[in-house]
Symmetry: C2
Subunit: 322 residues, 2 copies
């Protein structure tokens, strides 16, 4: 055992406990059962100090965000998140930090129905990583490659608040204290759209989560589906604070190309329009049609403003702050 | 996309390709099918510069070792390794490093039948992590908790060479150039006993892989199985180079309490003795009986020399070099 065994004490037996988990933390590997008729969806995301978060980031916010950026990948596939492994590298044993981090990871994972079944801890620059595993029906998945010309294009929630918060923190934008509080919560506490993802199984033809900025992420759908995407910029949903920012002279670029939204962007054929909206309404999740899929052209993502091409809005995608 | 997309180019589509992989790298999550009658074993291990390896470590050795320390956890459970996700944090884009690392990860994963189905890359202190997933029959596993009084205790291979190499690198021990080359290969290129682990399913009553040092790891079996373990120190198998080191005055402590061996320690009832040895012989793997399981006493791991308790040999377990 290394001197870091104390970390393991904090990071053991976290999250929900499942009947599907036959051996949990404490052996060489965990053993889980995938129910008959289901497949396994697997994804991993890391967060590194100075790249994905500032040095003074609150450990409970980091635990929340680490889990949710991974939950968001499950949401994008329509998968039900079940298990996760966590790695934690930190410069020295900091019991207060560990207590906050592990308590919030436990709380958030339990709330999401996820069990932490493995982990590894080491000394070094702060670096946290989570591999998430979820269940998908054998015959259903939301991939990036199923969009067809004529499909509607939707996003969940509102976009741009996390990027607006980052701009305010970096003093590129001036916000009031109240405005900052609202958008910083979006940056530090994204809420993955897990229930929506599952509700869209069978309706969405393609989808992904918006982590690197709407336009850049839509380009992934265009490429994987061999189509082009038309986005009506004026339809892109933004928050009240974002509207205030626009009224003070801000433009749409943070909503179109900012990152860290962790909302879903997805496509569905017109015949499913009522079902999509009904599913979203049932969950109390805002879903907005922002465009449509068109045949592949030389421009994978076309941005329209008042129905006319607005190439000046076709910003490149988000770069993490570093 | 971050400026690190170039890393993704190196770390995509690595390893074996499986019929069980329905969606691989390139979507929000990979999707894999666990065959009927099988369960999933999951484990994660990280390696951080300055803790698990020196700054000048060769990238191909790191890729090999990262995979094998994780394969070793699958071996310990008797699982068949199938899929992995990888995270890579590095200070700057280094194409030569990435080419070497990813080529070796591809080669070693392919050889082991493992497909890399996901990954994440970031900038920061060098930190590599791998989550491995493997298959286990529904009704069989080698856990730490099944050892019973009367069972034989075995280890595979020889022990102590990796710790001896580290001692030589740190100039605590003097070895010849040839001796160093032999033991450094054991430190940098451990070979997980995957085939042996699977062959032991149904015969081994308990087992784990020796990563933190034999005695410390046996204490895990003792605790999980609620038994004590008797180890005959004179029976612990060591290499020719280790014998030379002993002839020059070295003792057994590196073999008993050193780390990074990645051999299996396991128990089996006497009735399976012939089967255990036959399975090992069929695979060409050396397996040695080094003791037995006894009823729980106040000492979880008792070290015997010439049949008598040798408490001076009951060293504490390995600490990673830092």
């Amino acid at each position: 055992m290394s001197e870091f065994s104390v970390i393991e004490q904090y990071c053991t037996a976290l999250g929900a406990s499942h009947s599907g988990t036959e051996i949990g933390v404490g052996d060489d590997a965990a053993v889980v059962a995938v129910p008959p008729g289901m497949r396994l969806a697997v994804s991993v995301d890391s967060m590194v100090e100075g790249v994905h978060f500032f040095q003074d980031a609150a450990p409970n916010d980091l635990a929340w965000k680490l889990l949710n950026v991974n939950l968001s990948d499950m949401a994008a596939m329509g998968a039900l998140p079940k298990w996760a492994t966590v790695t934690l590298t930190m410069p020295q044993e900091n019991h207060l930090w560990l207590a906050d981090f592990s308590a919030e990871l436990h709380r958030a994972a339990t709330q999401a129905g996820v069990q932490i079944i493995g982990g590894d801890t080491t000394r070094g620059q702060l670096n946290i990583s989570l591999t998430i595993m979820g269940l998908l029906p054998k015959d259903d998945v939301i991939s990036r490659s199923g969009a067809k010309p004529g499909d509607d294009l939707y996003v969940s929630g509102t976009l741009g608040d996390a990027a607006l918060a980052l701009a305010a923190i970096e003093q590129r934008v001036a916000l009031s204290a109240v405005q900052r509080r609202v958008v910083e919560a979006k940056l530090h506490r994204p809420q993955a759209q897990v229930a929506l993802g599952q509700a869209l199984l069978g309706f969405a033809s393609a989808g992904l989560d918006i982590s690197d900025g709407l336009l850049g992420d839509l380009a992934h759908i265009a490429k994987a589906s061999q189509v082009s995407v038309e986005v009506n910029a004026d339809a892109v949903p933004v928050s009240q604070v974002y509207r205030e920012y626009q009224n003070a002279g801000g433009d749409l670029s943070l909503a179109l190309a900012g990152g860290d939204d962790y909302q879903l962007a997805f496509t569905a054929s017109a015949q499913h329009r009522d079902s999509v909206l009904a599913q979203a309404a049932k969950l109390g999740v805002e879903v907005t049609c922002i465009g449509r899929i068109v045949p592949l052209s030389s421009t994978p993502v076309v941005v329209l403003l008042d129905g006319k091409p607005a190439p000046e809005l076709s910003h490149s995608s988000y770069q993490h702050f570093d």
